[in-house]
Amino acid sequence: MSTLGHLSTEVLVIGAGGAGMYAALQAQSQGARVLLVDRSLIGRGGSTVMAQMTVAAAMGGACPDHWEHHLADTLEAGRGLCEPALAQIVCEQGVECIAQLDDWGVGWARDDGRFAQVHAPGHDRARCVYVDFLDTGPAVARTLRTRLVRTPEIRRIGEIAITDLVVRDGRCCGAVGLHLPSGTAITMQADAVILATGGLTRLYRRNSGSANSGGDGYALALRAGAELVDMEFVQFFPIGHLAPRLIGMDPIMWDPFRYKLGGRLLNAQMEEFTERYGTPENGRYRITRDLATYAITKEVAAGRGSPHGGAWLSFQHLDQATLRDAFGPVIDRLARNGIDLTRDAIEVAPIAHYHMGGVAVDERMHTGVRGLFAAGEAVGGSNGANRLSGNAITEALVFGRLAGAQAAQVVAATRGASGLPRWQGDGPERDWLANRRGRPAQNCAALIEQLQSIMADQVGPFRSAAGLAKARRQLAAMAKALGNSPPGGIEGFDPELLDWLDLRQMLLVANCVCQAAAERTESRGAHQREDHPGLDEAWQQHLSISMHDGALVLRKQPIDALERLAA
């Protein structure tokens, strides 16, 4: 197999979701040459396009607000584990980014000319903007894509799956990837690289994300010498759709339904039950994600779950007119699935939705490996142990813009330095991929499903030492059987090769989640230990993960000590 070629740029952005697209636009606007790549289609293959509703920012549309209030709510939701500087950046700069998207024509809903904002759980006031109906994600993605298309200086290439970052003399100088349609290895040289690869929800059997969110960026960062943080904190969206089978709709859709209509969360006896776990709702949407996940899981464990093992969500007290007024054509889509909300309650259960952890960065989105930045959900630390509703899109936009700006500055600073050697595309990272041979001994599509079951069963909302140890053993056995040699021998698109490469990344990332979850012997936010219930003040610190000689090294890190990443 030969390489298709070697591309050279100044800023390489890996991942073309909300964060990646904004990073590319910002870097280019500051004079950098940009190459934006994605393993799927630009602006369509990730989580941004799937966002259902809320984007939190202190716009002051519904009522007076200030980013300091948003920050207070963010820190509270994070259960003491937010990196305060990163959380502040999201809340403070979020206002500008949401206004910028407004200027770019995204179409935030309005009430009498002012931003329409809903009051989401965990917020002290109405703060979340949105695009009707359930169109926030597509609108944000479309708006950024349109600007990209109008900026031809940014080179956009889809269907490139990055397999490794390249580091020379302690500097990240590019990446190697597989061009999926042709099956050839491609090398990309850059002066700055931004990881905007999203989260790791694909690791779980039931998840609300895209098939591309397997945590690629975490594996790339780790192998490049960067640090990961808070990997054990996976957010389970508590009321993910469970039954009856619903197609053509996102499993998170009940979030917007609850914002606009309230709704009642009921157990098998058709009683509201969240009060039993500390948060009475009385038909309104008040309970935060970690507490709701806890309540539903515990209620099911007590034998009071719905038929498929979740809770009932009922809007039966509402009439058709009210439903249509709130959700228009979505009601027809539900009808095509045989669902009439005035007649039937539906079943919901926790579903893997977002990852609070990720690549450790400082206030410049810099990882500690020179030239390597991260942005969006791929960043760890800004949301602590539990993310506040509505902060994800805001974080994508703010961190994307910031990483793009910082990368452009690095490029400007090094542009004059003629002595700086530029990577020519050679080396073991490229050879490993270009010289692949043989066919896989196993069905890697089936193995990915197996990994997803292991994670769902042992590393879900509730963990135990025994379960985590079992998961680690099973994952280690899978990694050993997979080996280190990617399959080759087929021209063109090879779906088995892609599965093999994905498994390689996913196994490493899953191992990180398991080890961190085993190490943290307390319960906090989204990480709940059945054998260590209750929050332990001594654990108000991060767990970082680095790789040394192929082994994971876990360390405790104090909150608010990002200077350790200075490079």
Partner: protein, 112 residues
């Protein structure tokens, strides 16, 4: 109650004579063609190629293909207990099996 569908899928790469291959898929009512295709890869033949990202939400718009001659999204077309003929979009360059090149021309490698 579980039913069985026969997915009659057009296979092959660019320049090859296409050939149909049958796969039996067990399903619960309400499941989608995309659910069925993913089952084929995990249980029968992982070399089957098709495109998708968002799995369920019909947000990514990547899973377009022909079902019994009509253009559908695989994620919203329901499985039925009969022979279902599945083929790639005929008006897009074929990459392999059901996977076609649907990206804009300036977003593919080789565009300059």
């Amino acid at each position: 109650m579980t039913h069985t569908a026969i997915l009659r899928i057009q296979r092959g790469g660019p320049g090859q004579t296409p050939a149909e291959q049958d796969f039996e898929v067990r399903f619960d009512p309400g499941q989608s063609l995309l659910d069925g295709l993913r089952q084929v890869r995990a249980r029968h033949d992982p070399t089957l190629a098709f495109r998708f990202s968002c799995i369920n939400a019909n947000a990514c718009k990547e899973c377009m293909m022909k079902l019994d001659g009509k253009t559908v999204y695989a994620c919203t077309a329901r499985l039925e207990a009969r022979v279902m003929r599945v083929a790639p979009l005929p008006n897009k360059p074929l990459v392999r099996d059901l996977l076609t090149q649907i990206a804009p021309g300036d977003e593919v490698l080789g565009a300059d």
